[in-house]
Symmetry: C2
């Protein structure tokens, strides 16, 4: 596979323009209004998989958005790689903060991406990273170098909790049988510090509503005499963390695994520049749980973040009103051993219990998923390690990520195989934010590294 | 003036339909997009004043929305009543909670209004109550019974802080010279418990913004490691009141006048049914400052209410984001001796001081006004009292209101005359809320009572 670099460079413009076409379709899974666009995206992905050399590609119906399944089976005796990715994207809001419309991709150079980056919603998360696998397959089939079997499972509900994926997997275990699952939906430390993600946080996402009076009230006539749902919601949210930024929900930390001194010391060796981190975000200081470093806070520790809040008058000028209702979307990132369903229950019970008289409280769970940690002394990890060494000329750093891919724990449980998380995005790529982008260099580097994983994995596992 | 009741009854349908026409114009002062509608409303008010018998009506330009000035001077030796009101209205949001479109008035019977009520934004606050004065003048001029001079000053910025009114008064003191100011922009206890408002709270209205990172962040990759502006804003708001619902801003209560036991006992005599109050609002309990009754909390005690809050993702479904910014609109109702500019400064200083490292905080004052208390041992109050006795057959109850008409304190300072607050709305009329309405009975009762004030006031003051 010495020619993979050359192949990627030669076809770079075409690869980028194919990705740009895919990015133009607004496949926002959170908003039912975009259902048609999701179907259109699934069709486009199917077509590209067929072109890349899959023998069979199917749009598989589910209770939600369809899953694109594809395969190229060359020899039943050879190992099988199952590629997972998603074609849905996060909502692009707030639109006014984008420099270009989120579904009209633009290529621009940045400090982190001197060779240019593609700016669009989904560029990195996950259309761009998913498409690296399609193009890697194209290289291997077109040059006759595919060393093993490959299957694709590309879903359309990752950003809203992957509800249909569990349903699909349970009904298609045979079809999805594999020896390793390969996912590119995470990041790497830096272009000169390649890394493999070995841990993901779990997630519990809820929406809460505080209801006070049965209608909006004049804040002069009623102010001070009835519970204001916004003030109450603020007090309730505030009380969920204490002065050390520990979460106060009873039982929340009961199953959290404390890392040993040695493990924490090893984590602290990963390259990290706090000043650069603060400067990149324009912050005078970081903020978080007492007793833990920034890299610990966003990987091995659970969190509680309000992702959205609204209530009362939010237009121009002033309105002197006590709103009848106040709302918040709250998510908790969880760590291994915390069960997301149990944590959701603990949250609900606690949140309802702290509501003062004078308001009613509703807690509606949105979705969730379990945390995941993968060992690094496995054959799967060794294959990934060897691929990086060959591609980057450096040993990759195993890294725990703060993000969640709720389905990874399920894969292990249902499909009995290990997952390798090969991410090529950078932290600064603004996924889930305005001006999301993905470096052209990173895109090509992914396409070049993936076939090497196939090669090493096949070599290590061939019977 | 024995025929006033008859005149009002005979012309009831026309009076109501004229008011309905006025209510159709969406004169929302908080939103600059409605500027034209405000001018249209001012023109309509001018036309109605001319029809009612004013000798002179002018649309007076100001730095903001125009003021409609009108007068009928019958004899320089007779006393002059200055009527103040406003033609602007609150924004109608949230629109989805209205049973009819807010600017398409509908007349419906309700439990509180068996003779029907007009449902529209501004029906009670203040187009309906202001228009009572225009129709009262019509009665007095058409029947040759106007006993004194009258002036009108109807503004278009009351709901956004009356900024141009001070400017206008300072430049027109001579023109506005009067012996008493008459305002109907408050309420009454009940149809069978008439009341005159003797106190208004002051107001300080601010908007705050908490800024964290320079862009929205992925809550997995950054969650727990940077200050989340929504979580921080919730904590800051929560800390503004303590466990007894006292406001914690240093110096906030320094000038608050504590009422004597006797004064509080007298207040407690006003008819009030707590169970009915809770039931009308669908509340299991009231809520407020420890040590004070509901009627004290919403009249003689200052408050701090969040009128609006927003930040992050507020659309359908879930988005795992840490917002770059969170915002809130916060208003404080003030009591006599609290200076609104001083309180605004205290708020700003305190709110900025409690911001943790990792965020920036901005406090922008919107507007404000001083509280007002009027004595009841004056000739002006006696005239009002006598008018109510004649109209209702009952002595009106003097009542402190929780609302604010920021300009009342300024009137006394600049024009050296007392203000009488004759309100005819009910607490349940939902002013500032969806489905605002004004009882047809109340509208007519106002038209019938106002001329009697003119009569008694002239009798008591005639030189």
């Amino acid at each position: 596979m010495k020619d993979v670099k050359e192949y990627a460079e030669k076809n770079k413009d075409r690869f980028v323009s194919e990705l740009v076409e895919l990015l133009k379709i607004p496949s926002i899974s959170a908003d039912p209004a975009y259902k048609k666009e999701l179907l259109k995206t699934a069709d486009a992905v199917k077509k590209r998989m067929e072109e890349a050399g899959c023998d069979l590609v199917e749009i598989c119906e589910t209770p939600g958005n369809p899953i694109v399944y594809g395969e190229k089976i060359i020899d039943k005796n050879l190992p099988t790689v199952l590629v997972y990715g998603h074609y849905d994207v996060q909502p692009p809001d707030p639109l006014e903060l984008w420099d270009n419309p989120p579904f009209e991709p633009v290529i621009k150079k940045t400090a982190a991406h001197p060779e240019g980056a593609i700016f669009a919603r989904g560029a990195c998360d996950d259309k761009g990273q998913m498409y690296m696998h399609v193009k890697a397959l194209e290289y291997m089939t077109k040059t006759g170098q595919l060393p093993c079997n490959v299957k694709f499972m590309i879903e359309g509900e990752e950003e809203v909790g992957s509800e249909s994926l569990g349903w699909f997997i349970q009904r298609n275990k045979e079809k999805l049988a594999n020896d390793v699952i390969l996912i590119s939906d995470t990041g790497m430390i830096a272009p000169d510090a390649p890394s493999i993600t070995t841990g993901l946080r779990g997630l519990s996402y809820v929406e809460v509503t505080v209801t006070g009076p049965n209608r909006d009230l004049h804040s002069g006539l009623y102010g001070g005499a009835v519970a204001n749902p916004i003030n109450v919601l603020a007090k309730m949210i505030a009380s969920l963390t204490d002065e050390n930024n520990h979460i106060t929900i009873p039982g929340f930390y009961d199953k959290v695994e404390e890392l040993s001194k040695e493990e924490r010391a090893k984590m602290a060796e990963a390259p990290f520049d706090l000043d650069k981190y603060k400067k990149a975000l324009d912050l005078d200081d970081v903020y978080g749980e007492k007793g833990y470093s920034t890299n610990e806070r966003n990987s091995i520790r659970p969190t509680l973040d309000v992702n959205g809040i609204w209530g009362g008058y939010t237009g121009e000028g002033a309105k002197t009103v006590i709103a009848a209702k106040a709302h918040a979307k709250i998510s908790m990132r969880l760590v291994p051993n915390q069960d997301w369903k149990e944590i959701t229950e603990l949250f609900k019970k606690h949140f309802e219990s702290i509501a003062p008289r004078g308001v009613k409280v509703e807690v509606n769970p949105h979705h969730g998923g379990q945390a995941y940690v993968t060992p690094i002394n496995t054959l799967e990890y060794k294959a990934a390690n060897d691929a990086y060494v060959e591609s980057f000329g450096k040993t990759p750093i195993p890294q725990r990520s703060g993000g969640s891919i709720p389905i990874v724990a399920l894969f292990e449980k249902e499909l009995k195989s290990k997952t390798i998380l090969m991410g090529f995005g950078l932290d600064s790529d603004a996924i889930h934010s305005p001006n999301e982008h993905f470096g052209v260099w990173n895109f090509l580097k992914g396409i070049q590294t993936i076939p090497l994983f196939y090669k090493h994995f096949t070599k290590l596992t061939k019977k």
